[in-house]
C-alpha cells in the first residue's frame, strides 16, 4: 500500500475518532448535570444523608468511567496523528535520499531562506505535547529532559550539532541526522541550511537531540528549563544555536521560552528577551563563558 493511501486511511480514522469524542462528551453530559443538581439539592437541604452519599458515589464512578473512555479515544486519536506524521517523515527521508543518490544530476535549487524559516517555525508549532497518565513522569526528550546517555538519534531527527566553521571556530548548528555508525560511534549529519550540501561526521558528544515533545507547563513544569538556567537556543530566524539564559519559561503549552542571548554588542552582555520555541531550546553542557 502506498504511503498516500495509508495516510488517507489514517485521516479517515482520525475523523471518526473526533466524531466519537463528541458523542462521548454528549453522552457523559447528562451524568455531569446530574452530579451538579445533586450537589445543589444537598446544599439547599443542608445535610448529607446516606442516600445522597450512595447516589453521589454511583454518579462519580460513572463520571470517572466516562472521562476515562473519552480520554482513551483522545489518546487513540493522538496516536493516529503521530502515525501520520511518522509516515510523512518516512516519505520525506526517502525523497531526500533519492535526491542525494542521483549524484550526477545538477542539484535542485535550494529553497529560499524565508521558506526554510517558516518550515522551522511550523515544525516547532506542531511538535506534539506530551500528555502523561496521572502520576506518570515525562520521558526523556520531553521538554528539558535530556536523552539517556545511550540514546541514538534516528535518521531524520533534528539535532543541535557542534561543527567547525571556517576560521577554526566552532558553532552549534541545526542539523538532521543521516546515519549513525555503531562501530565508530559517530553520526553523519546534514546542515539543515544547505540540505545535502554540507555533510558532517561528528562524534556523539557533539550532538544534542532536540526535544520530541513539548512539556506542558501546567502539568509538568519540572520538565522545563527554569529561569536563569544556561541553555543553547536557536536564534530567531537563523539556524544556529547560541548560549542564552532563560528569561521566562512558557506558561501555557503553546507558549515559547523567553531567553536572553549572550551578546557582547549589548552593554550588559545579553540581548533583550527574545522568544524561542521549546523545540529549539536544549541544555548547555559547557559552563565556562567564552
Amino acid at each position: 500500500m502506498s504511503a498516500d493511501t495509508k495516510i488517507a486511511e489514517l485521516l479517515t480514522e482520525l475523523h471518526q475518532l473526533i466524531k466519537q469524542t463528541q458523542e462521548e462528551r454528549s453522552r457523559s453530559e447528562h451524568n455531569l448535570l446530574n452530579i451538579q443538581k445533586t450537589h445543589e439539592r444537598m446544599q439547599t437541604e443542608n445535610k448529607t444523608s446516606p442516600y445522597y452519599r450512595t447516589k453521589l458515589r454511583g454518579l462519580y464512578t460513572t463520571a470517572k468511567a466516562d472521562a476515562e473512555a473519552e480520554c482513551s479515544i483522545l489518546r487513540h486519536a493522538l496516536d493516529k496523528i503521530a502515525e501520520i506524521k511518522s509516515l510523512q517523515e518516512e516519505r520525506r527521508i526517502a525523497a531526500k535520499s533519492a535526491r542525494v543518490q542521483s549524484d550526477n544530476d545538477p542539484p535542485r535549487k535550494t529553497m529560499r531562506r524565508g521558506v526554510l524559516m517558516t518550515l522551522l517555525q511550523q515544525s516547532a508549532m506542531t511538535l506534539p505535547l506530551w500528555i502523561g497518565k496521572p502520576g506518570e513522569s515525562p520521558p526523556p526528550l520531553c521538554g528539558a529532559i535530556p536523552a539517556s546517555s545511550d540514546y541514538v538519534a534516528k535518521q531524520g531527527d533534528k539535532v543541535a550539532a557542534r561543527v567547525k566553521v571556517v576560521d577554526g571556530d566552532e558553532q552549534w548548528i541545526l542539523a538532521e541526522v543521516v546515519s549513525y555508525s555503531h562501530s565508530t560511534n559517530k553520526y553523519e549529519v546534514d546542515d539543515i541550511d544547505e540540505e545535502g550540501k554540507e555533510r558532517h561526521t561528528l562524534s556523539r558528544r557533539r550532538i544534542i537531540p532536540l526535544p520530541q515533545w513539548k512539556a506542558n507547563p501546567e502539568t509538568d513544569p519540572e520538565a522545563l528549563f527554569s529561569k536563569d538556567q544556561l541553555v543553547l537556543a536557536l536564534y530567531p530566524q537563523t539556524t544556529c544555536f547560541y548560549r542564552a539564559l532563560i528569561h521566562t519559561p512558557p506558561h501555557r503549552p503553546q507558549d515559547d521560552y523567553s531567553v536572553l542571548f549572550e551578546d557582547t554588542s549589548y552593554a550588559d552582555g545579553y540581548s533583550p528577551p527574545l522568544n524561542v520555541a521549546q523545540r529549539y531550546v536544549v541544555a548547555c553542557k559547557e559552563n565556562k563563558k567564552k
Partner: protein, 810 residues
C-alpha cells in the same frame, strides 16, 4: 431600590433654583417613567461614557421619536396643557410667569399618559392665572405648528435630562445652552438657530467625505474592480462610523494629546454637539453629518483615537459581524486606516486639495467608474490595467499622461511589444471579468489565521499580510529643529539608531546617531508592537533628482520575513509620491545582494555631476542605483503579478478545453535554457498565434536551410583542437561545486541533441548557447587556466565561422 432613587432625582430637581428647571418640573415624572420603562437602559442614550460607540444616541433617537408621536396623538386640550407649561402668561403685562404650572402635579403613582387633561380654567400654581391665559396665542395656530412646538417640548425635556446626567463640564454647558435656546423658541414660536462665534456649517472644505473618497480614488484606482469595490465599501463604512461616532470631550483631548491649547478642538467639539450629535436625537435642531461639515482639521484631531477605538470595537464584536463583512474588516480595514492616516497627517497629501482630480490617464478614469459600478468597464486593455494604474500615485511632472494614448510605453519596449499588448487587449472584457470572478474568491482571501505560507509565495507576501492586519506599520519620520518633535517620534528615532548600530557594527555609533537625528535625513521606520524593528534612513535631494539610501537594516531576530523588501517597496512608493525617481546608495559587500533583489544595479544612469559632492562616499563600497517607475504600485507588485499569472493560467485552461490536442511539455527550461522563441513551442500556431512579420524578414526563411547551416557549423566546432573541454556535460564527481556556481550549464553534446530536436529555430538561440559555453568556463575557472585558454581560442574560432557563414554581421 430603583423607585427611591427615582424620587431622589425628581425631588432634587424641584429644588433647583434655575427657572428653566422649574418650568420643566411638572413634566419630570413622565420623563422618569419613560426612563424606567426601559428598565435601566436610560443611561444608554444619555451621552455619557459607556454607550455603544458606533451608534450613540440611536436608542435615544428612537425613544424621542416615539415620544413625539405619542404627544402629537394627544387630544388638543392635552396638547395645549403641555405647551402651556412652556408658554408665558399673557393675562396682563405685569405677569412675569413664563410657564403654566399644574396646581395638581401628577404623582408618581399615576403616571399613565391617559390621565385627564387639565381644564383651560385651571389656575397656574405660580401666577394664579388660568391655563387659557398661557395658551391664548395658540388659538388660531395650525395643528402642524402645534405639533412642531410639541416636538420641541419633547426635545427640551430630553435636553433637560441630558444636562442633568452629563458629567463633563464642557458638554453640560452646551446641552444647557441648547436647552435654553429651544425653550426660547417655544416661547417665541420661532425656529432654533445656534448663534455665536461657532460659524455656520460647513466649517471646512473639502469635507471629510470628499477627502476620503479622493483617498480611495488616489490610492486604489489601480486595483481590480472587485478589490476597488471593497475599498469603496470600507470608505463608506468608515464615513458612516464617523457620523455616529462620539467624539472625545475637550478634557479627554487635552489629556491625551498633552496639548496646552485645546481651544480649536473645543470649538469643533461644540460645533459637532450643536450641529451633528445632539440633532441626531433632537430633530428640532437642523442636523448635519459630521463627515459633510468638517474636514481635515477635525479628522486630524480625532483620527488617532477613533482609529484605535474602531479597530478595538471590531475586534471585540467580530463574532457579531456578517461573515463577508468580517473578512472585509479584519483583513483590509487596518491597512486602509494606516494608509488613510498617512494622508491625514502627511504634509502634502493631494486628497485634501479643493480641486483634487486624478490625472486623466486611462487607468484612473476607469477606476472612478468602476468604483461606482464595476459593470461599467468596457473596451479597455484588461491585462495592462493593473499595471498602468500605478500612475495614480503621480501628482505632477514625472510622467505626463499623453491624451489619447492608451498607455505610455517605457522606452525599452519596441513596436512589436506594443502590438503584443494590443493583442492581449483583444481578450473580451466579459471573459476577463468572468476569470477574475473565479480567482477572487473571498473565502480564499480570509484563509486560516496563520503566517505559514506556501513555499512559492512572494518574498514580501507575509509582510504585506501583516501590514494589512495591523501587526506591522510603516512610518516616515525625522527629527525637526524648528518644531518640538513629538515624544513618540523621538522614541522611534532612538529605536532606529539602536537597530542600525546593532545591525551595522562597522558603522561608528556616533555617526549613525548624527545622521538619524539630522533634520535633513528621514527614516522609514518599521514598527511592530509599538517598537522599531527596522528601517531605511535616507536623504532626499529634490534639486538633484535623487535620494541617497543611507542606512538600511532589520533587527536580526526579525530577518528573513520579507520586511526588507516591503520596506524598500514602501520607500519607492513614498518617493514616487514626492516625485523623486532615482535611488543611489553605496552598498557594502553584504548589502549588494539585498539591493540587487530590490531592483538596484551597478549600472548608474544618473549623471555624475548630479550626485558628486552630494552623496556620502564610502571607501570599498559599491555605488548602486535604482530607477523607479511611477506606474508601478511597488508594495502590491508581486501580488499583481501573481494575479496576472493566475488570470493567464485560467485563460490558458479555457483555451485548452477548446483545443483538444495535447503536446508533451517543454523540457528545455529544466535543462537550463532561459528563453526560447515563441514559434518553437509545439502547437502554438494552432492557437492562432502568428509570428510578427519583422522577425520573419530577418530570419532565414526555410528552417531546413538554417538546420543544415548550424549542423555544419557545430561539426566544425566539435573538431576544433581546443573544443575538448566542452564536449560533454561537466561531471559532478570531477567538479563537485560546479552546479552550484554555474546555473545554466551547456556543452557541445547537449547542443548537438538540441539541434537534432529542432530546438534551434533561430540562429540567435544557437549563438547564445555557444556564448554561454565560453562565459560558463570563464566564470568557473581562473583566467589563466588551461580551460580558459581553450575557451578564448574556441570563441575566436566560432565567431570567425559565424561571420564567414553570414550568420552575424561585421
Amino acid at each position: 431600590m430603583r423607585s427611591t432613587a427615582t424620587e431622589e432625582v425628581s425631588s432634587s430637581s424641584v429644588d433647583m433654583s434655575d427657572p428653566a428647571a422649574q418650568a420643566s418640573q411638572p413634566r419630570l415624572p413622565q420623563t422618569q417613567s419613560a426612563g424606567s420603562a426601559g428598565s435601566g437602559n436610560a443611561a444608554t442614550g444619555s451621552g455619557s461614557g459607556n454607550s455603544d460607540p458606533a451608534r450613540p444616541g440611536l436608542s435615544q433617537q428612537q425613544r424621542a421619536s416615539q415620544k413625539k408621536a405619542q404627544v402629537r396623538a394627544f387630544p388638543r386640550a392635552k396638547k395645549l396643557e403641555k405647551l402651556g407649561v412652556f408658554s408665558a402668561c399673557k393675562a396682563n403685562d405685569t405677569c412675569k410667569c413664563n410657564g403654566w404650572k399644574n396646581p395638581n402635579p401628577p404623582s408618581a403613582t399615576r403616571l399613565d399618559l391617559q390621565q385627564q387633561a387639565a381644564s383651560l380654567s385651571e389656575p397656574c400654581r405660580s401666577c394664579g392665572h388660568a391655563l387659557a391665559e398661557h395658551v391664548s396665542h395658540l388659538e388660531n395656530v395650525s395643528e402642524e405648528e402645534i405639533n412642531r412646538l410639541l416636538g420641541m417640548v419633547v426635545d427640551v425635556e430630553n435636553l433637560f435630562m441630558s444636562v442633568h446626567k452629563e458629567e463633563d463640564t464642557d458638554t453640560k454647558q452646551v446641552y444647557f445652552y441648547l436647552f435654553k435656546l429651544l425653550r426660547k423658541c417655544i416661547l417665541q414660536m420661532s425656529q432654533p438657530v445656534v448663534e455665536g462665534s461657532l460659524g455656520t456649517p460647513p466649517f471646512e472644505r473639502p469635507n471629510i467625505e470628499q477627502g476620503v473618497l479622493n483617498f480611495v480614488q488616489y490610492k486604489f484606482s489601480h486595483l481590480a474592480p472587485k478589490e476597488r469595490q471593497t475599498m469603496f465599501e470600507l470608505s463608506k463604512m468608515f464615513l458612516l462610523c464617523l457620523n455616529y461616532w462620539k467624539l472625545e470631550t475637550p478634557t479627554q483631548y487635552r489629556q491625551r494629546t498633552q496639548k496646552e491649547d485645546g481651544a480649536p478642538y473645543k470649538v469643533d467639539y461644540t460645533r459637532w454637539l450643536c450641529y451633528c450629535h445632539v440633532p441626531q436625537s433632537n430633530d428640532s435642531l437642523p442636523r448635519y453629518e459630521t463627515t459633510q461639515v468638517f474636514g481635515r482639521n477635525l479628522l486630524k484631531s480625532i483620527f488617532t483615537v477613533t482609529r484605535r477605538q474602531l479597530l478595538e470595537k471590531f475586534r471585540v464584536e467580530k463574532d457579531k459581524l456578517l461573515p463577508e463583512k468580517r473578512t472585509l474588516i479584519l483583513t483590509h480595514f487596518p491597512k486602509f486606516l494606516s494608509m488613510l492616516e498617512e494622508e491625514i497627517y502627511g504634509e502634502n497629501s493631494p486628497i485634501w486639495e479643493a480641486d483634487f482630480t486624478m490625472p486623466a490617464s486611462d487607468g484612473t478614469q476607469l477606476g472612478h467608474q468602476t468604483v461606482i459600478s464595476p459593470a461599467a468597464v468596457s473596451g479597455s486593455p484588461a491585462l495592462s490595467k493593473s499595471l498602468s494604474g500605478g500612475s495614480s500615485t503621480v501628482d505632477s511632472g514625472g510622467v505626463e499622461p499623453i491624451p489619447g494614448e492608451k498607455r505610455k510605453l517605457p522606452e525599452a519596449l519596441t513596436l512589436e511589444d506594443a502590438k503584443r499588448i494590443r493583442v492581449m487587449g483583444d481578450i473580451p472584457m466579459e471573459l476577463v471579468n468572468e476569470v477574475m470572478m473565479t480567482i477572487t474568491d473571498p473565502a480564499a482571501m480570509l484563509g486560516p489565521e496563520t503566517n505559514l505560507l506556501t513555499p512559492n509565495a512572494a518574498r514580501d507576501e507575509t509582510a504585506r499580510l501583516e501590514e494589512r492586519r495591523g501587526i506591522i506599520e510603516f512610518h516616515v519620520i525625522g527629527n525637526s529643529l524648528s518644531q518640538k518633535s513629538n515624544k513618540k517620534i523621538l522614541m522611534w528615532l532612538v529605536g532606529l539608531q539602536n537597530v542600525f548600530s546593532h545591525q551595522l557594527p562597522r558603522m561608528p555609533k556616533e555617526y549613525i546617531t548624527r545622521l538619524v537625528f539630522d533634520p535633513k535625513h528621514k527614516t522609514l521606520a518599521l514598527i511592530k508592537d509599538g517598537r522599531v524593528i527596522g528601517g531605511i534612513c535616507f536623504r532626499m535631494f529634490p534639486t538633484q533628482g535623487f535620494t541617497e539610501i543611507v542606512f538600511c537594516a532589520v533587527t536580526s531576530n526579525e530577518q528573513v520575513k520579507g520586511y526588507g523588501t516591503h520596506l524598500m517597496n514602501h520607500l519607492k512608493e513614498y518617493h514616487i509620491k514626492h516625485n523623486i525617481l532615482y535611488f543611489l546608495t553605496y552598498a557594502d559587500e553584504y548589502a549588494i545582494g539585498y539591493f540587487k533583489k530590490q531592483g538596484f544595479s551597478k549600472d548608474i544612469k544618473v549623471a555624475k555631476s548630479r550626485y558628486l559632492g552630494y552623496i556620502k562616499d564610502y571607501e570599498g563600497a559599491t555605488l548602486m542605483e535604482c530607477e523607479l517607475n511611477p506606474r508601478i504600485p511597488y508594495t502590491e507588485l508581486s501580488h499583481i503579478i501573481k494575479r496576472q499569472k493566475e488570470i493567464i493560467k485560467k485563460l490558458i485552461e479555457r483555451k485548452q478545453s477548446q483545443i483538444r490536442k495535447v503536446y508533451p511539455g517543454l523540457t528545455c527550461f529544466k535543462e537550463g535554457v532561459r528563453q526560447i522563441p515563441v514559434e518553437s513551442i509545439p502547437g502554438i500556431r494552432e492557437t492562432g498565434w502568428k509570428p510578427s512579420s519583422k522577425d520573419k524578414s530577418k530570419e532565414v526563411k526555410d528552417p531546413d536551410v538554417l538546420y543544415n547551416t548550424l549542423k555544419n557549423l557545430l561539426a566544425q566546432i566539435k573538431t576544433h583542437p581546443d573544443a575538448w573541454p566542452f564536449m560533454e556535460p561537466v561531471k559532478k564527481s570531477e567538479a563537485p561545486d560546479y552546479y552550484e556556481i554555474i546555473r545554466f550549464p551547456i556543452d557541445l553534446k547537449t547542443m548537438t541533441d538540441r539541434l537534432k530536436n529542432r530546438y534551434y529555430v533561430t540562429k540567435k538561440l544557437f549563438i547564445a548557447d555557444l556564448q554561454r559555453i565560453i562565459s560558463n568556463c570563464r566564470e568557473y575557472n581562473p583566467p589563466d587556466s588551461e580551460y580558459c585558454k581553450c575557451a578564448n581560442t574556441l570563441e575566436k574560432f566560432f565567431y570567425f565561422k559565424l561571420k564567414d557563414g553570414g550568420l552575424i554581421d561585421k
